[in-house]
């Protein structure tokens, strides 16, 4: 056992320049895969961490003795959301030692605690724009452990237990606006919004992990392909199948383990960059992006293991017969069953709907994805047969025959890009356009008021605005039971403050500040403010789509480049002899291009359509301009990337055919 292992280590090191190149290519592939895999896991973990830190702002009604009354509202400044948490400590609260996370103690009435970003903003803006809304002494800064992201604007306002802000029933409630709640502690619960993000992350993960696995597998086979001849030779001199398998697996696993560690280094190095991606309102704490020791250990173990398994699968041929590699025979045809598998998976899709559970959706997506990957080689072989039949020139003939000969390897070259077509099709349809939300007014401010007090409130608003020097028309809406009205919400009316449409952000902010506290527990919001979260969500969906697409393309193009290079290396002897016999390299290059681009066009297009089909049950709009742009850019980048990857292997082709006396290694 040790003897075999040390022999494989020596073979690995002594593989020569070409052998080394193959090893380096595999290592590069595994490195990129590992880094992206860690990124995917980190995405899920990071949203969980955010949800954990945000939980205290979703108060849970105390069943026994409460220590405080807590209310949560949203205010707005410039184009940003401020989360305002009002806390009224009850008797004995301070002695209980309970306090909100991020604060060193329970806030006292008249105190204000600001998050670092909000404190900075309050310093920068004139008091009448922002600071005036938080009367009282600034008692401290809210720590990172209570913030969703480093740039988050959060204020904790301490009030007396008899303050109207914490005694009155709220006029409006949502997942972000929560009326006074008696709490025993500040554990809280996960909010709905971040839960939604976590679901989206799971879907994105599935979309990214499948191509990563396919890619990793391809990379492993690549090592094996390089070793085929040598291993067949080892079999011929009498190595047992077990020894051959062990040696290959050892070699693949050694390389993969090293590359996985490199992938971890690459990921850790890029964490500060990744942290700048703004999602759900802001960038990330770098520490959020650390997937955790256990997941990292798992990845570092699983990646080499997967590569090893894939290597064994790729080796079967060699082990079955010592002559298995030396003899090239007509491969058995691909079976139509592969196509059936795809249609079976796609047939499930129409059964899904927006209410289907995420797990089911993720499974269906993964299945459709895998089925596509299964169908790929079959389609490629059909394309090859057609190409070979209609070919008139040598390049097309060569390309067609080669596709029929080894559809799997041709598929490996394009699989990544083609499968990315699936992702693009899926997300392209799901990308909503900002236009769907219209362009709500930013200069109308609305203050909710109890129906019976609406005239008084309107009067108060006029006085406050006049004092602040803001010119505005104040009117009152009829009390009505609109859609948001619920049984536990008092009847309400709206005071509408109409600033001139030309009003600046500063004027709007000043008006907000002037109106602060007019109705206790409620702030003045513009129609735009109410859509703010939706706008952020839509922007995030676009960002997420772009991240998934970018990652997929990275994988796809690296994989296309690696397989193109390995295919050159695998055939170097024949290529060299053909070149000696006067075959122009352009013919070989053209053959390689046809071999790649024709299946890419068919399968990429097919995946795109399959992806769009899978998205149909969830579509809540027709194809948006943004979605169409994503689809077009995808097609351009996909083809461009594969052509570029192919072009990169051309110097390699030139190099390996330059040697006039090629010998197999």
């Amino acid at each position: 056992m040790t003897g075999v292992l040390s022999l494989s280590w020596r073979l690995l090191r002594g593989a020569g320049r070409h052998g080394m190149l193959g090893t380096v290519l595999t290592a590069a592939a595994v490195t990129v895969s590992t880094a992206l895999l860690l990124f995917t896991i980190a995405g899920n973990v990071a949203f969980l961490a955010r949800a954990d830190r945000e939980a205290w702002r979703h108060p849970v009604e105390a069943s026994g003795g409460a220590v405080a009354i807590q209310a949560v509202a949203q205010d707005f400044v410039e184009d940003e959301i401020i989360t305002v948490v009002t806390i009224a400590p009850l008797d004995g609260a301070e002695r209980s030692g309970v306090h909100p996370p991020g604060l060193t103690r329970m806030p006292r009435p008249g105190e204000v605690w600001l998050s670092p970003a909000l404190a900075e903003l309050a310093r920068r803006l004139p008091d009448e724009r922002l600071a005036g809304r938080f009367p009282g002494t600034v008692a401290g800064t809210i720590g990172d452990e209570a913030l969703v992201h480093p740039d988050e604007l959060v204020a904790v306002v301490g009030r007396a237990p008899d303050d109207p802000a914490v005694t009155r029933k709220p006029l409006y409630a949502s997942s972000t606006v929560i009326g006074p709640t008696r709490v025993a502690d500040f554990t809280g619960k996960h909010g709905e919004m971040l839960l939604g993000y976590r679901i989206l992350t799971v879907i994105a993960s599935v979309l990214m992990v499948v191509p990563l696995l396919v890619f990793g597998g391809a990379a492993a086979r690549l090592t094996v392909a390089r070793r085929d001849q040598r291993l067949a030779a080892l079999r011929l001199v009498g190595a047992t199948p077990g020894q051959v398998v062990l040696m290959t697996v050892a070699e693949a696993v050694i390389v993969a383990a090293g590359a996985a560690v490199l992938g971890l280094v690459l990921y850790v190095a890029s964490m500060p960059l990744v942290a700048r991606i703004e999602l759900a309102g802001g960038p990330w704490f770098v520490s959020d992006l650390w997937p955790g020791l256990l997941p990292v250990a798992g990845v570092l173990l699983a990646v080499p293991l997967l590569v090893g398994v894939s290597a064994v699968a790729g080796l079967r041929r060699v082990v079955i017969s010592p002559l298995g590699v030396a003899k090239r025979e007509t491969p058995p045809g691909m079976r139509v069953i592969r196509l059936v598998a795809l249609f079976a998976a796609l047939a499930v899709v129409p059964l899904a709907s927006r209410s289907t559970s995420v797990t089911v959706v993720a499974v269906v997506l993964a299945l459709a994805f895998l089925a596509l990957n299964l169908t790929g080689p079959w389609v490629v072989s059909v394309i090859g047969r057609i190409t070979a039949r209609v070919a008139r020139g040598p390049a097309a003939l060569l390309a067609g025959r080669r596709l029929v000969d080894d559809p799997r390897s041709a598929w490996r070259t394009i699989a990544g890009v083609a499968l990315t077509g699936f992702i693009a099709g899926f997300t392209g349809l799901l990308t909503p356009s900002g236009g769907m939300l219209g362009s709500p007014s930013t200069t109308d401010l609305i203050v909710l008021a109890p129906a019976e007090q609406v005239r008084t409130v309107a009067g108060g608003a006029r006085v406050r605005l006049a004092r602040a020097g803001i010119e505005a028309k104040v009117r009152v809406s009829e009390p009505r039971a609109d859609g948001r009205s619920r049984a536990d919400v008092p009847q309400r009316a709206r005071v509408i403050v109409e600033l001139p449409e030309t009003a600046s952000t500063a004027q709007v902010d000043t008006a907000r500040t002037a109106l602060a506290g007019l109705v206790p527990g409620h702030v003045a919001t513009s129609p735009m403010d109410e859509q703010r979260a939706a706008f952020i969500l839509f922007a995030d969906l676009r960002t997420g789509t772009l991240i998934v697409l970018a990652a997929s393309f990275l994988v796809a193009i690296v994989s296309a480049g690696i397989t193109a290079s390995s295919s050159v290396l695998d055939r170097r002897q024949t290529y060299a002899l053909l070149r000696l016999a006067g075959t122009p390299l352009e013919v070989l290059d053209r053959a390689r291009r046809i071999e790649t681009l024709v299946p890419l066009a068919v399968m990429g297009g097919g995946s795109l359509l399959a992806g769009m089909f899978c998205a149909l049950p969830f579509v809540f709009a027709t194809l948006s301009a943004g979605g169409a742009a994503i689809l077009l850019v995808t097609i351009a980048v996909g083809f461009g990337g594969v052509i570029a990857a192919d072009a990169l292997s051309r110097p390699l082709l030139r190099a390996v055919t330059r040697n006039p006396a090629p010998r197999p290694d």
């Binding site: 007509t330 025959r401 000969d405 000696l580």
Partner: protein, 254 residues
């Protein structure tokens, strides 16, 4: 030392060929002339420069000095593209193994050089198939290289080398991967078919039995030709029983 074939009209000549690889001198001034339909074997131990000589004569490599002429045209000064075209159209190559594209059936492998020259596919494949029967490859047109025996694969390679009707066939250890009997049979067919088609043959080998099939044998050592003799170990090409005998007797003797 220089050796020149005493023929009326040499097809291919090399004069004063010198080739160095770093400090190693592979060719140290070689003169050689190949006559029309002449079969010449280049023999010598490993490192004697025999393959380098073949590469220089075939326009694969450019000698550091000296000249190579094909039918009076100087070819060693041509650019890569020109030499590549020359190799494809005027020369044919038979290597030890691995020269057939494993994906293509035998007939398309043979037709490939014609297609590269612009012959339409149907015509090229039709032309290619005509070579199968004379080379004893009946019924094997649709086989792929992996489904052929070593001897059959070499005969397909011979067909491919000849299909463009080249002036010279270069063979580098053409029987190196074959057993004795198959090797002899392959050499017989190679010499016969080459001469039958009016082409000359240059064979690099270290096997005297292979060399014996040729009209002339050049012995190489340390980048020089140290001896030249006529193939006698095998049946003389003059023997009526020799397959290469008919119509190939235009040759002088030194």
């Amino acid at each position: 030392m220089s050796t020149t074939a005493d023929t009326n009209e040499p097809v291919l000549t090399g004069r004063g060929l010198v080739k160095r690889f770093g400090t190693t001198v592979a060719l140290a001034g070689v003169d050689v002339a190949i006559g029309r339909t002449e079969a010449v074997a280049i023999m010598g131990p490993s490192g004697s420069g025999k393959s380098t000589l073949l590469h220089c004569l075939a326009g694969i490599m450019r000698p550091d000095s000296g000249e190579v002429h094909l039918l009076g045209q100087r070819i060693d000064t041509m650019g890569e593209r020109g030499r590549s075209e020359l190799r494809r159209t005027r020369f044919g190559f038979v290597f030890q193994f691995g020269q057939l594209l494993p994906e293509l059936p035998a007939d398309e492998n043979v037709a490939l050089p014609l297609m590269l020259g612009g012959v339409p596919r149907a015509k090229a494949v039709g032309e290619a198939r005509r070579w199968f029967a004379p080379l004893g490859l009946d019924g094997l047109t649709a086989r792929r290289p992996g489904e052929l025996s070593g001897g059959q694969a070499q005969r397909v390679a011979i067909a491919r080398a000849l299909v463009t009707r080249p002036a010279v066939i270069f063979a580098d250890e053409p029987t190196g991967a074959l057993d004795q009997a198959t090797g002899q049979e392959t050499m017989r067919l190679l010499v016969e078919a080459t001469k039958h088609n009016g082409a000359s043959l240059v064979v690099v080998t270290h096997d005297p039995q292979v060399a014996a099939w040729c009209d002339r044998v050049l012995e190489m050592r340390d980048g020089r030709i140290i001896g030249s003799r006529y193939g006698t170990a095998a049946p003389s090409p003059q023997d009526p029983g020799h397959p290469a005998a008919p119509e190939t007797t235009v040759r002088g003797r030194a």
